[in-house]
């Protein structure tokens, strides 16, 4: 699974962190999201998909491979 966060779009509400705290966190300086891991294991795929669905700014792209 490949995840991309479009930092310019992110509005820092933290929905992704609530959905998948193992995978996403927010920068201290401006709340913009970043990845804690590049390649989450399959047990995390469902919560990453949920994060992408919940992201209000449509800033998270997920590609399965």
């Amino acid at each position: 699974m490949k995840i991309h966060i479009d930092e310019a779009k992110c509005v820092g509400g933290g929905q992704c962190v609530v959905a998948a705290p193992e995978v996403f966190d927010q920068r201290d300086e401006d709340g913009v999201a970043f990845l804690l891991m590049e390649n989450p294991g399959s047990e995390l795929h469902a919560s990453v998909q949920e994060a992408a669905l919940l992201c209000p700014a449509v800033a998270i792209a997920v590609a399965e491979r």
């Binding site: 509005v11 933290g14 962190v17 709340g31 919940l54 700014a57």
Partner: protein, 410 residues
């Protein structure tokens, strides 16, 4: 086809016998005419979009505008229009400079993990308020004794608004949500609040403390990055957005659980944080206190749900109705969307909005509500309404829904 019938008037009324339900006329339109024209107070005829999927599409569309100075913006009332003008902030603006940047200046104080770190402190405030309530006479008004103080104390502490200023700030913000307020009322209240906040910001340039206003004074005001006026408007937005909404969720959520005993039992008997979290999402969905419809205007011609909405046309998105949309929430036939079910997967509700303006304080609100609903019924297992549901004065007259007061006993 000739246009024969005039569009229905908006807002529509709730049925007084079903105080938790969105207006039935809106639920009917969701079925029969999910994107349709309505007529509002100033005679204009914006679009009303009622389905969950379509509202998500509107609110996250890159060409949609929240600019309340746009002459075509479908305001809620003359009073709210006047207040928005006086207090214009990133909430009512678009784009990277006027919205995204100022929002990011605040965002770091409301991140998910920072809000989690406040949990213990919110627990302490909650316990203290319940101690005081239990030591006093009963029945008691839960709004006054508990629902309002929890979020007010929190947001005032985060900002650094002294306790002594909190009374005046309460009475002034009341004018904002009262649908009976005149434009003069709301502008006067806005001016007084801005004055109060400017004074605090100014003082914190030379006397900083460990709070958000001090950070804005030091990092933004002192080096001249943002003006005192702009910063005071940002602070005002946090103050007003951060207490009425959560307070109404606490009171209304308590009333909803007390009138759904099977659901209440699940909440009272659990110590599972996941069930408490899903209870809060379900209450946010089911009750959707922001019930006046989110307002937007199309900045370009856009396609929504197969329909063309032209540049300059107003759009109203009643998120309360979208949150009862069966196609989004009835994942299973035994779980109708018009039922309260604390185990429902409901995280995709729109109670905090959607798109770039989605609530900045949502993680604070979540932790507050999780602490409140995991504590209230555990501390007071016999908590009960002290008046029949039909006697409760619900906020049909306010732009944020809730109960004016909620008499409870134990």
């Amino acid at each position: 086809m000739a246009h024969t019938t005039a569009p229905p008037a908006f807002p529509m009324e709730r049925d007084a016998r079903c105080p938790f339900d969105p207006p039935s006329a809106l639920l009917d339109l969701q079925q029969s005419a999910p994107i349709t024209r309505v007529r509002i107070w100033n005679g204009s005829e914006p679009w009303l979009v009622t389905r969950h999927e379509d509202i998500r599409a509107v609110l996250s569309h890159p060409a949609i505008s929240s600019d309340t100075d746009n002459p075509d913006f479908p305001h809620q009332s003359a009073a709210i229009q006047a207040r928005r003008k006086r207090a214009k902030s990133f909430f009512t603006s678009d784009g990277p400079v006027e919205h995204d940047e100022p929002r990011r200046v605040l965002a770091r104080d409301f991140t998910a993990k920072r809000m989690q770190a406040l949990r213990e402190h919110i627990q302490t405030i909650t316990d203290k308020l319940l101690d005081d309530m239990l030591a006093g006479p009963k029945p008691v008004d839960l709004v006054e004794a508990f629902a309002l103080p929890v979020p007010s104390l929190m947001i005032c502490e985060l900002l650094g608004v002294p306790y002594s200023a909190q009374d005046s700030f309460h009475s002034l913000t009341k004018a904002f949500v009262d649908r009976a307020s005149t434009p003069e009322d709301t502008v006067a209240a806005t001016d007084q609040l801005l004055e109060l906040l400017s004074g605090l910001l100014d003082k914190k340039v030379t006397e900083p403390a460990d709070d958000l206003l001090s950070r804005l004074a030091q990092e933004q005001l002192k080096p001249g990055i943002r003006s005192l006026d702009e910063l005071a408007k940002m602070a005002l937005l946090l103050l007003t957005a951060g207490h009425e909404t959560s307070a109404n969720m606490i009171a209304l959520g308590t009333a909803a659980l007390l009138t759904h005993p099977d659901q209440l039992e699940k909440v009272r008997s659990t110590d599972d944080p996941a069930l408490i979290a899903s209870t809060v999402e379900e209450l946010l969905r089911y009750l959707t206190v922001v019930h006046s419809g989110l307002r937007r205007v199309a900045g370009e011609d856009i396609q929504i749900g197969g329909r063309l909405i032209r540049k300059g046309e107003g759009i109203i998105c009643p998120i309360d109705t979208a949150n009862w949309d069966a196609s989004a929430f009835e994942t299973d036939a035994t779980l109708p969307a018009d039922d309260l079910d604390v185990t429902r997967p409901a995280r995709h509700h729109l109670a905090f909005g959607f798109g770039v303006h989605q609530c900045l304080g949502q993680q604070l609100a979540r932790v507050e509500l999780q602490v409140v609903f995991s504590t209230l019924f555990r501390r007071i297992p016999t908590l009960a309404l002290a008046e029949p549901l039909g006697d409760i004065h619900f906020k049909h007259d306010m732009s944020i829904y809730g109960a004016h007061s909620l008499l409870v006993t134990w």
